[in-house]
Symmetry: none
Subunit: 210 residues, 4 copies
DNA sequence: GATGAATGAGCCTTCATTCAT
DNA sequence: CATGAATGAAGGCTCATTCAT
């Protein structure tokens, strides 16, 4: 994890700059940014970009996995530091939402549902890690009577994925404000209540996202 | 006004087929489907497609306005037929969601927030009509104590826009099921409750969407 | 020449309007105006345009021959009404230049040098008629000692063709002024003078234009 | 300033070949040659063509400026090497005409009067340089009593522009011969003579071409 | 390794021409 | 006959990707 050679340092830096650039551009302009623009923004040549990521798909994958790392870190911390499951969930949604808003495009791969990524082993692995944490939190919160019993971790991740996708062309401040509000509203909707409306459709399970 | 039917019939049919095809394809693959594919799916040549819609933007606009028409119709009927405002809202969200799921691309024009469409007069007009209806319903439902007082029609439309955007590459059945569930959850979140979490960010008003 | 039926009148009118429209548009925007634009300017549908001229080439030919008619008329009148050959030539150049400037695109086909028209029998016929008149005038003027002996009718028509081609994008008033000046200068250059510079290149003969 | 040769060499070569190809093709077929044909003739792919010239206009501009360079070089040499102004003018017209005949498309930019190029700063700059040289020569020749006093450098360049525009579809040898002859005739027309016809239209000045 | 040039397939759009009404 | 809709072949331009330097 930190056993890389001298030259690797440059390469690693390049890699990070490329991912950051791709991240930002995808957030701003959608997933079809020209590779050349990514390269330019990252301050490298296309040649270098392609050395690091042999094609567009690899780049998207890189951005996705990078985002996953961060989201998982948020989930872990939330679980570790919050004794109360509902508080942990709530913190996770808020922090990840904030993180994702910054990092943006991540959401789209959040639940790993993109066809292109669905069968990627690394992606599956991270998805499982994340969903396992969320599943634990949701179950505990349900046991505490804090979360309605007809929803699950899959719902949580899918809602976040739906809400957090970048909305290009919309005034950025509006999206930001909106996402904040609707994540809160969504959390509120997840809470256990005697008068909750019953949910339609067969439940969405973790298996559905596998 | 009465002397343009017969021949127009073909053209009109073509127009409708093109919009339907574009609608479906945008839902499936996002807004940058090849024009040629739209034409093929509509069963016409690209020439015809371009005769009807002189460029991609005009096509998107056509799809958007067509969807708007339908959504407004749903909103009107809901308002007319449901005496209870909350019931009307609820019915609107469910029906429009259903309509939209099929028709998909709607979300993008729902709140009319796309830069390319924002200043289109026809689009503004329809947006205003729709938001006026929703605003009435929301206020009435708030007066009835059914909807929390810190949300408005702008929130409703924006949430729908966020949730209903097409999710290319995701298993269609999953999106469908998910959207159903989350619209319900969202409605639930909108309800007035003593223990509701307070919403962050300044309120989003109708003016924000203008 | 005027023995046409009632219906023919419409058709003839259409034909003339089409030619006028094509003439104007070619003058303004060059020879590749869209057929549809010609139709629109002529106030007919493309269907009608194509009924009258089965393809673009036929249309150009129509415009060209129409121009030829007019130029020949000018030449005839000049020859008939001016006893002095040099005066006739001079009048012809001035009038045809004026006519052409108005009618513009004509020049390009003036000497019939367009590949596409070169072998058209009607075009050949008119070219011969025109060149025969000019040849007569030039020879007479040369006999009068008014025109240098190393130029001929072919030179005259070619110079006019070169000078009178429409110059799209140039300020219209400049072209007009320029053409006026340079036709005059050109005429001046044609005059017989003891100190005239000798002309390079083998002489260009009527046969060259055949 | 010295660290961009080797690799640049290929690119530079390509650039030159592209300009040469465009030059030739524009001369032969007018300014709307298919870009692909230019690329083919230059021996490169369309991608390369577009990398060098991002659109058709840039290509035309490139051809124009390249021609300007050459014509200015001819003008400078003529002025430098010919003590007599009239001889210099005459040499310039002949050489530039020869150059242009080969290089053809020049005329279009000669007086810089093309709308698309009119406001291009580089083009203006070169136009000014050229016209300044010609203006000097014309004035000197007028002072020598060799050139009629009612013409100027603007006339000279405009006549050349008119005469030298490519004449697509005309037998190449004819154009060549014709242009030679008519440039000579034109020069002859410019000469000061007691019996010269008076020129119509207000004089065309350098300012008109600015 | 990094750079930036070259390639070529793909998509958008235009327009000449044909044809149904 | 006139109309205007439909067709489909070009041609412009944009990248993703490969490669020479």
């Amino acid at each position: 994890m930190n056993s890389d050679r001298k030259l690797r340092a440059d390469a690693q830096l390049n890699r990070e700059q490329i991912i950051a650039a791709a991240h930002a551009l995808i957030a701003e302009h959608g997933a079809d940014v020209p590779m050349e623009e990514v390269a330019r923004r990252a301050g490298v040549s296309t040649g270098t970009l392609y050395r690091r990521f042999p094609n567009r798909h690899a780049l998207i994958r890189g951005v996705a996995l990078d985002g996953f790392h961060r989201v998982i870190a948020i989930a872990r911390t939330a679980e570790d530091e919050e004794p109360d499951a509902w508080a942990a969930l709530s913190r996770f949604v808020r922090q990840a939402g904030g993180e994702l808003r910054l990092a943006a495009g991540l959401a789209m791969r959040f639940a790993g549902t993109w066809a292109t990524l669905r069968d990627d082993p690394e992606n599956r692995r991270m998805r499982e890690i994340l969903l396992k944490i969320l599943d634990r939190l949701v179950r505990r919160a349900q046991a505490d009577g804090k979360v309605r019993s007809d929803v699950g971790a899959a719902d949580l991740s899918m809602m976040m994925a739906l809400l957090l996708r970048p909305m290009p062309d919309l005034r950025a401040d509006l999206t930001q404000a909106g996402v904040d509000r609707y994540l809160t509203l969504m959390l509120d909707g997840l809470r256990a209540r005697p008068d909750a409306a019953s949910l339609p459709s067969p439940e969405i399970t973790l298996a559905d996202l596998a």
